[in-house]
Protein backbone atom coordinates (compact mmCIF):
# COMPACT_ATOMS: atom_id res chain seq x y z
CA UNK A 1 0.00 0.00 0.00
CA UNK A 2 1.28 3.46 -0.93
CA UNK A 3 0.49 5.89 1.89
CA UNK A 4 1.08 9.66 1.85
CA UNK A 5 1.29 11.64 5.09
CA UNK A 6 1.17 15.44 5.36
CA UNK A 7 4.24 16.61 7.28
CA UNK A 8 5.99 19.71 8.65
CA UNK A 9 9.39 18.46 7.52
CA UNK A 10 11.10 15.91 5.34
CA UNK A 11 11.84 13.05 7.75
CA UNK A 12 9.82 10.52 9.75
CA UNK A 13 10.89 12.31 12.93
CA UNK A 14 9.30 15.57 11.79
CA UNK A 15 5.87 16.55 13.00
CA UNK A 16 2.70 15.59 11.23
CA UNK A 17 0.83 18.50 9.56
CA UNK A 18 -2.96 18.73 9.66
CA UNK A 19 -3.34 20.80 6.47
CA UNK A 20 -3.77 18.92 3.22
CA UNK A 21 -3.46 21.37 0.30
CA UNK A 22 -0.97 23.69 1.98
CA UNK A 23 1.16 21.19 3.91
CA UNK A 24 4.86 21.96 3.37
CA UNK A 25 5.84 18.29 2.81
CA UNK A 26 4.36 14.94 1.86
CA UNK A 27 6.00 11.72 3.06
CA UNK A 28 5.40 8.76 0.77
CA UNK A 29 5.50 5.47 2.67
CA UNK A 30 5.41 2.05 1.02
CA UNK A 31 4.03 -0.43 3.58
CA UNK A 32 5.42 -3.48 1.76
CA UNK A 33 9.04 -2.39 1.43
CA UNK A 34 8.86 0.03 4.44
CA UNK A 35 10.70 2.53 2.21
CA UNK A 36 9.84 6.18 2.40
CA UNK A 37 10.54 9.39 0.48
CA UNK A 38 9.81 13.08 1.11
CA UNK A 39 8.26 15.42 -1.50
CA UNK A 40 8.09 19.17 -1.13
CA UNK A 41 4.52 20.36 -1.78
CA UNK A 42 4.62 22.89 -4.61
CA UNK A 43 0.89 23.57 -4.14
CA UNK A 44 1.63 25.75 -1.08
CA UNK A 45 2.67 28.53 -3.44
CA UNK A 46 -0.63 28.44 -5.35
CA UNK A 47 -2.97 31.37 -4.79
CA UNK A 48 -5.99 29.26 -5.70
CA UNK A 49 -6.95 25.62 -5.61
CA UNK A 50 -4.05 24.25 -3.54
CA UNK A 51 -6.22 21.29 -2.54
CA UNK A 52 -6.80 20.22 -6.15
CA UNK A 53 -3.14 20.74 -7.08
CA UNK A 54 -1.98 18.67 -4.09
CA UNK A 55 -4.51 15.94 -4.89
CA UNK A 56 -3.29 15.84 -8.51
CA UNK A 57 0.31 15.55 -7.25
CA UNK A 58 -0.54 12.52 -5.09
CA UNK A 59 -2.69 10.90 -7.80
CA UNK A 60 0.21 11.21 -10.26
CA UNK A 61 2.49 9.44 -7.75
CA UNK A 62 0.29 6.42 -7.22
CA UNK A 63 -1.17 7.23 -3.80
CA UNK A 64 -3.63 4.65 -2.45
CA UNK A 65 -4.23 6.25 0.95
CA UNK A 66 -3.47 9.65 2.50
CA UNK A 67 -3.40 10.82 6.11
CA UNK A 68 -4.05 14.48 6.95
CA UNK A 69 -5.97 16.54 9.49
CA UNK A 70 -8.84 17.47 7.21
CA UNK A 71 -9.62 17.59 3.50
CA UNK A 72 -11.27 20.54 1.76
CA UNK A 73 -14.28 19.94 -0.51
CA UNK A 74 -12.29 20.17 -3.77
CA UNK A 75 -9.46 17.95 -2.54
CA UNK A 76 -12.04 15.50 -1.23
CA UNK A 77 -13.78 15.35 -4.60
CA UNK A 78 -10.51 14.78 -6.50
CA UNK A 79 -9.15 12.16 -4.06
CA UNK A 80 -12.41 10.23 -3.93
CA UNK A 81 -12.71 10.26 -7.73
CA UNK A 82 -9.26 8.66 -7.77
CA UNK A 83 -10.37 6.06 -5.23
CA UNK A 84 -7.78 7.16 -2.69
CA UNK A 85 -8.63 6.36 0.94
CA UNK A 86 -8.60 9.50 3.12
CA UNK A 87 -7.71 9.10 6.78
CA UNK A 88 -8.12 11.79 9.40
CA UNK A 89 -5.75 12.37 12.29
CA UNK A 90 -6.31 15.68 14.10
CA UNK A 91 -3.30 15.64 16.48
CA UNK A 92 -0.46 17.81 15.13
CA UNK A 93 1.84 17.03 18.07
CA UNK A 94 2.56 13.53 16.70
CA UNK A 95 5.53 12.70 14.49
CA UNK A 96 5.15 11.20 11.03
CA UNK A 97 6.49 7.88 12.42
CA UNK A 98 3.83 7.88 15.15
CA UNK A 99 1.13 8.48 12.54
CA UNK A 100 2.47 5.56 10.46
CA UNK A 101 2.36 3.40 13.60
CA UNK A 102 -1.26 4.40 14.25
CA UNK A 103 -2.14 3.59 10.64
CA UNK A 104 -0.43 0.18 10.81
CA UNK A 105 -2.33 -0.55 14.02
CA UNK A 106 -5.57 0.29 12.14
CA UNK A 107 -6.33 3.15 14.52
CA UNK A 108 -6.98 5.94 12.00
CA UNK A 109 -10.47 6.98 11.00
CA UNK A 110 -11.48 6.84 7.34
CA UNK A 111 -13.11 10.01 5.96
CA UNK A 112 -16.35 9.32 4.08
Amino acid sequence: MILFITAQGKTLEDLFNTKFGRTPWFIRFDSESEEWEAFENSATAQAHGAGVAAAQFLIDRGAQAVVSGRFGPNAYQALSAAGITMLAQPDDSKSVQEVIDLWQAGRLETVH
Binding site: H48, A50, G51, V52, Q56, I59, N74, A78, A81
Partner: protein, 286 residues
Protein backbone atom coordinates in the same frame (compact mmCIF):
# COMPACT_ATOMS: atom_id res chain seq x y z
CA UNK B 1 -20.26 61.42 -14.06
CA UNK B 2 -19.79 58.27 -12.03
CA UNK B 3 -19.59 58.51 -8.26
CA UNK B 4 -18.67 55.41 -6.26
CA UNK B 5 -19.37 55.19 -2.54
CA UNK B 6 -16.86 52.98 -0.72
CA UNK B 7 -15.49 52.69 2.80
CA UNK B 8 -13.06 49.92 3.53
CA UNK B 9 -14.79 48.98 6.78
CA UNK B 10 -18.28 47.53 6.50
CA UNK B 11 -21.21 49.11 8.31
CA UNK B 12 -19.93 52.69 8.15
CA UNK B 13 -22.92 53.98 6.16
CA UNK B 14 -22.14 53.52 2.44
CA UNK B 15 -25.69 52.59 1.57
CA UNK B 16 -27.17 55.36 3.72
CA UNK B 17 -24.98 57.94 1.94
CA UNK B 18 -25.38 56.57 -1.59
CA UNK B 19 -29.19 56.17 -1.42
CA UNK B 20 -29.73 59.61 0.15
CA UNK B 21 -27.37 61.21 -2.36
CA UNK B 22 -29.33 59.61 -5.20
CA UNK B 23 -32.71 60.68 -3.77
CA UNK B 24 -31.46 64.26 -3.23
CA UNK B 25 -30.24 64.59 -6.83
CA UNK B 26 -33.10 62.78 -8.53
CA UNK B 27 -35.06 66.03 -8.97
CA UNK B 28 -32.13 67.72 -10.76
CA UNK B 29 -30.90 65.09 -13.20
CA UNK B 30 -31.76 61.68 -14.49
CA UNK B 31 -29.56 59.15 -12.77
CA UNK B 32 -28.74 55.48 -12.41
CA UNK B 33 -28.10 53.76 -9.12
CA UNK B 34 -26.00 50.58 -9.08
CA UNK B 35 -25.96 48.42 -5.98
CA UNK B 36 -22.66 46.59 -6.50
CA UNK B 37 -22.55 45.11 -2.99
CA UNK B 38 -23.63 41.87 -4.64
CA UNK B 39 -22.91 39.63 -1.64
CA UNK B 40 -25.46 41.55 0.44
CA UNK B 41 -27.35 44.06 -1.71
CA UNK B 42 -29.68 46.21 0.40
CA UNK B 43 -30.02 49.61 -1.30
CA UNK B 44 -33.41 48.51 -2.70
CA UNK B 45 -34.76 48.47 0.86
CA UNK B 46 -34.28 52.26 0.94
CA UNK B 47 -34.91 53.37 -2.65
CA UNK B 48 -37.73 50.81 -3.10
CA UNK B 49 -37.55 50.26 -6.86
CA UNK B 50 -40.20 48.38 -8.76
CA UNK B 51 -38.10 45.60 -10.33
CA UNK B 52 -39.25 44.78 -13.84
CA UNK B 53 -36.25 42.85 -15.18
CA UNK B 54 -34.56 39.84 -13.60
CA UNK B 55 -31.96 37.87 -15.49
CA UNK B 56 -29.29 35.33 -14.58
CA UNK B 57 -25.61 36.25 -14.57
CA UNK B 58 -23.52 33.48 -16.07
CA UNK B 59 -19.79 32.83 -16.29
CA UNK B 60 -18.24 30.60 -18.97
CA UNK B 61 -16.70 27.41 -17.63
CA UNK B 62 -15.07 24.58 -19.59
CA UNK B 63 -16.91 21.45 -20.60
CA UNK B 64 -14.75 18.61 -21.85
CA UNK B 65 -15.98 16.24 -24.53
CA UNK B 66 -14.83 12.78 -23.31
CA UNK B 67 -14.95 11.41 -26.88
CA UNK B 68 -12.52 13.97 -28.29
CA UNK B 69 -10.32 14.27 -25.17
CA UNK B 70 -7.15 12.17 -25.27
CA UNK B 71 -6.38 12.82 -21.54
CA UNK B 72 -3.12 14.55 -22.50
CA UNK B 73 -3.44 16.81 -19.47
CA UNK B 74 -2.45 20.00 -21.28
CA UNK B 75 -5.51 21.83 -19.86
CA UNK B 76 -4.53 20.85 -16.29
CA UNK B 77 -1.02 22.23 -16.90
CA UNK B 78 -2.16 25.61 -18.26
CA UNK B 79 -4.84 26.26 -15.63
CA UNK B 80 -3.47 28.86 -13.20
CA UNK B 81 -6.35 28.29 -10.78
CA UNK B 82 -6.16 24.49 -10.42
CA UNK B 83 -9.73 24.23 -11.63
CA UNK B 84 -9.00 21.06 -13.62
CA UNK B 85 -7.68 17.66 -12.58
CA UNK B 86 -6.83 14.51 -14.51
CA UNK B 87 -7.63 11.39 -12.55
CA UNK B 88 -6.87 8.24 -14.48
CA UNK B 89 -9.35 8.28 -17.32
CA UNK B 90 -11.48 11.02 -15.78
CA UNK B 91 -11.26 14.78 -16.25
CA UNK B 92 -12.66 16.85 -13.38
CA UNK B 93 -13.74 20.49 -13.62
CA UNK B 94 -13.93 22.46 -10.35
CA UNK B 95 -16.24 25.22 -11.52
CA UNK B 96 -15.92 27.32 -8.36
CA UNK B 97 -12.16 27.59 -8.84
CA UNK B 98 -12.50 28.55 -12.52
CA UNK B 99 -11.83 32.23 -13.34
CA UNK B 100 -13.20 31.88 -16.90
CA UNK B 101 -9.85 32.83 -18.43
CA UNK B 102 -10.32 30.51 -21.42
CA UNK B 103 -6.73 29.15 -21.36
CA UNK B 104 -7.80 25.50 -21.31
CA UNK B 105 -10.09 25.97 -24.31
CA UNK B 106 -7.30 27.68 -26.25
CA UNK B 107 -4.62 25.17 -25.23
CA UNK B 108 -6.56 21.97 -25.97
CA UNK B 109 -4.87 20.36 -29.03
CA UNK B 110 -7.97 18.23 -29.73
CA UNK B 111 -10.50 21.11 -29.51
CA UNK B 112 -12.29 18.92 -27.00
CA UNK B 113 -13.16 21.84 -24.68
CA UNK B 114 -15.98 24.28 -25.19
CA UNK B 115 -17.36 26.81 -22.73
CA UNK B 116 -20.81 26.62 -21.19
CA UNK B 117 -22.59 29.27 -19.13
CA UNK B 118 -22.88 28.62 -15.42
CA UNK B 119 -25.33 30.81 -13.48
CA UNK B 120 -23.75 32.43 -10.41
CA UNK B 121 -26.23 35.17 -9.60
CA UNK B 122 -28.96 37.54 -10.72
CA UNK B 123 -29.19 41.00 -12.20
CA UNK B 124 -32.33 43.02 -11.44
CA UNK B 125 -33.44 46.34 -12.88
CA UNK B 126 -36.31 48.67 -12.21
CA UNK B 127 -37.31 52.26 -11.53
CA UNK B 128 -37.87 53.99 -8.20
CA UNK B 129 -40.69 56.43 -7.45
CA UNK B 130 -38.04 59.19 -7.76
CA UNK B 131 -37.49 58.12 -11.38
CA UNK B 132 -34.08 56.60 -10.65
CA UNK B 133 -32.94 53.71 -12.88
CA UNK B 134 -32.07 51.15 -10.23
CA UNK B 135 -29.86 48.11 -10.87
CA UNK B 136 -28.48 45.54 -8.53
CA UNK B 137 -26.71 42.24 -8.60
CA UNK B 138 -27.11 39.34 -6.26
CA UNK B 139 -24.46 36.63 -5.99
CA UNK B 140 -25.93 33.18 -5.34
CA UNK B 141 -25.26 31.71 -1.91
CA UNK B 142 -22.16 29.51 -1.96
CA UNK B 143 -20.62 31.17 -5.03
CA UNK B 144 -17.16 32.53 -4.20
CA UNK B 145 -16.63 35.10 -6.96
CA UNK B 146 -18.57 38.40 -6.87
CA UNK B 147 -16.64 40.29 -9.58
CA UNK B 148 -18.44 38.85 -12.66
CA UNK B 149 -21.81 39.88 -11.15
CA UNK B 150 -20.49 43.41 -10.42
CA UNK B 151 -19.24 43.70 -14.00
CA UNK B 152 -22.66 42.68 -15.37
CA UNK B 153 -24.43 45.28 -13.21
CA UNK B 154 -22.07 47.98 -14.49
CA UNK B 155 -22.46 46.82 -18.09
CA UNK B 156 -26.27 47.04 -17.81
CA UNK B 157 -26.20 50.76 -16.85
CA UNK B 158 -28.53 52.62 -19.26
CA UNK B 159 -26.30 54.21 -21.92
CA UNK B 160 -25.86 57.97 -21.71
CA UNK B 161 -26.85 58.13 -18.05
CA UNK B 162 -25.59 61.60 -17.00
CA UNK B 163 -25.03 60.54 -13.41
CA UNK B 164 -24.33 57.09 -12.00
CA UNK B 165 -24.07 56.41 -8.28
CA UNK B 166 -22.40 53.15 -7.28
CA UNK B 167 -22.88 51.56 -3.87
CA UNK B 168 -19.69 49.51 -3.42
CA UNK B 169 -19.05 46.36 -1.42
CA UNK B 170 -17.04 46.72 1.81
CA UNK B 171 -13.36 45.86 1.97
CA UNK B 172 -10.55 46.90 -0.35
CA UNK B 173 -10.12 43.82 -2.53
CA UNK B 174 -11.05 42.71 -6.08
CA UNK B 175 -14.77 43.35 -5.71
CA UNK B 176 -14.26 46.98 -4.61
CA UNK B 177 -11.64 47.56 -7.30
CA UNK B 178 -14.14 46.26 -9.89
CA UNK B 179 -16.89 48.50 -8.48
CA UNK B 180 -14.79 51.71 -8.46
CA UNK B 181 -13.02 50.97 -11.76
CA UNK B 182 -13.90 53.79 -14.22
CA UNK B 183 -15.51 55.97 -11.47
CA UNK B 184 -14.78 59.69 -11.73
CA UNK B 185 -15.00 60.21 -8.01
CA UNK B 186 -15.01 58.10 -4.85
CA UNK B 187 -16.82 59.08 -1.67
CA UNK B 188 -15.20 57.32 1.27
CA UNK B 189 -17.58 56.86 4.18
CA UNK B 190 -15.80 56.31 7.46
CA UNK B 191 -16.46 56.30 11.17
CA UNK B 192 -14.03 57.99 13.56
CA UNK B 193 -12.83 54.79 15.23
CA UNK B 194 -9.55 52.86 14.98
CA UNK B 195 -11.31 50.23 12.81
CA UNK B 196 -12.77 52.88 10.51
CA UNK B 197 -9.40 54.59 10.25
CA UNK B 198 -7.51 51.37 9.57
CA UNK B 199 -9.80 50.25 6.77
CA UNK B 200 -10.07 53.76 5.32
CA UNK B 201 -6.32 53.58 4.85
CA UNK B 202 -6.66 50.36 2.91
CA UNK B 203 -8.98 52.19 0.52
CA UNK B 204 -6.58 55.15 0.32
CA UNK B 205 -3.97 52.63 -0.80
CA UNK B 206 -6.28 51.42 -3.57
CA UNK B 207 -7.03 55.00 -4.67
CA UNK B 208 -3.32 55.77 -4.79
CA UNK B 209 -3.09 53.12 -7.51
CA UNK B 210 -6.18 54.22 -9.45
CA UNK B 211 -5.58 57.96 -9.02
CA UNK B 212 -9.32 58.61 -8.61
CA UNK B 213 -10.21 61.88 -6.82
CA UNK B 214 -11.94 61.29 -3.50
CA UNK B 215 -13.49 62.91 -0.46
CA UNK B 216 -14.58 61.74 2.96
CA UNK B 217 -17.92 61.54 4.72
CA UNK B 218 -17.59 61.04 8.47
CA UNK B 219 -20.56 59.08 9.79
CA UNK B 220 -21.44 58.50 13.43
CA UNK B 221 -19.55 61.71 14.06
CA UNK B 222 -18.86 62.12 17.76
CA UNK B 223 -17.95 58.51 18.58
CA UNK B 224 -14.32 57.42 18.62
CA UNK B 225 -11.51 59.62 19.81
CA UNK B 226 -9.61 62.79 19.04
CA UNK B 227 -6.56 60.99 17.64
CA UNK B 228 -8.62 59.77 14.69
CA UNK B 229 -10.11 63.25 14.19
CA UNK B 230 -6.60 64.67 13.96
CA UNK B 231 -5.53 61.95 11.52
CA UNK B 232 -8.59 62.61 9.34
CA UNK B 233 -7.89 66.34 9.38
CA UNK B 234 -4.31 65.70 8.25
CA UNK B 235 -5.36 63.74 5.14
CA UNK B 236 -5.06 65.59 1.84
CA UNK B 237 -8.75 64.83 1.11
CA UNK B 238 -11.71 67.12 1.82
CA UNK B 239 -14.23 66.18 4.51
CA UNK B 240 -17.44 66.52 2.50
CA UNK B 241 -19.98 65.91 5.24
CA UNK B 242 -20.36 64.88 8.86
CA UNK B 243 -23.36 62.88 9.98
CA UNK B 244 -23.84 62.81 13.76
CA UNK B 245 -24.29 59.66 15.83
CA UNK B 246 -27.98 59.83 16.74
CA UNK B 247 -30.40 57.15 17.82
CA UNK B 248 -33.17 58.77 15.77
CA UNK B 249 -31.16 58.18 12.57
CA UNK B 250 -30.29 54.56 13.39
CA UNK B 251 -33.82 53.61 14.44
CA UNK B 252 -35.43 55.02 11.29
CA UNK B 253 -32.77 53.65 8.95
CA UNK B 254 -33.49 50.23 10.40
CA UNK B 255 -37.08 50.70 9.23
CA UNK B 256 -35.93 51.42 5.67
CA UNK B 257 -36.16 55.23 5.68
CA UNK B 258 -33.70 57.35 3.75
CA UNK B 259 -31.61 59.80 5.75
CA UNK B 260 -33.29 62.58 3.75
CA UNK B 261 -36.68 61.31 4.93
CA UNK B 262 -35.57 61.19 8.56
CA UNK B 263 -33.89 64.61 8.47
CA UNK B 264 -35.11 66.55 5.40
CA UNK B 265 -32.36 69.19 5.77
CA UNK B 266 -29.96 66.56 4.42
CA UNK B 267 -31.42 66.94 0.93
CA UNK B 268 -29.82 70.38 0.57
CA UNK B 269 -26.68 69.08 2.27
CA UNK B 270 -26.31 66.26 -0.29
CA UNK B 271 -26.95 68.67 -3.17
CA UNK B 272 -24.15 70.83 -1.74
CA UNK B 273 -21.93 67.75 -1.43
CA UNK B 274 -22.53 67.02 -5.13
CA UNK B 275 -21.53 70.60 -6.07
CA UNK B 276 -18.33 70.18 -4.03
CA UNK B 277 -17.58 66.97 -5.92
CA UNK B 278 -18.15 68.68 -9.29
CA UNK B 279 -15.79 71.52 -8.32
CA UNK B 280 -13.14 69.11 -7.04
CA UNK B 281 -13.23 66.94 -10.18
CA UNK B 282 -13.08 70.01 -12.44
CA UNK B 283 -10.06 71.24 -10.51
CA UNK B 284 -8.26 67.92 -10.70
CA UNK B 285 -9.02 67.71 -14.44
CA UNK B 286 -7.60 71.20 -15.04
Amino acid sequence: MKIAVASGKGGTGKTMVSTSLAASLSGQTSLSFLDCDVEAPNAHLFLKPNFTVEEPVEVPIPEIDPELCTRCGRCVEVCQYNALAKIGDQMLVFSQLCHSCGSCTLACPEHAIHEVGKPIGLLRQGKTSHGIDFLHGELSIGEPMPTPVIREVKKATPPGSPLTIIDCPPGASCSVVTAIHDADYVILVTEPTPFGWHDLNQMLGVLKQTGTPAGIVVNQDGIGDRTIEKQLADLPLPILMRIPFREEIAANLARGDLLTEILPEYEAAFQMLYRQILEQTQRSAA
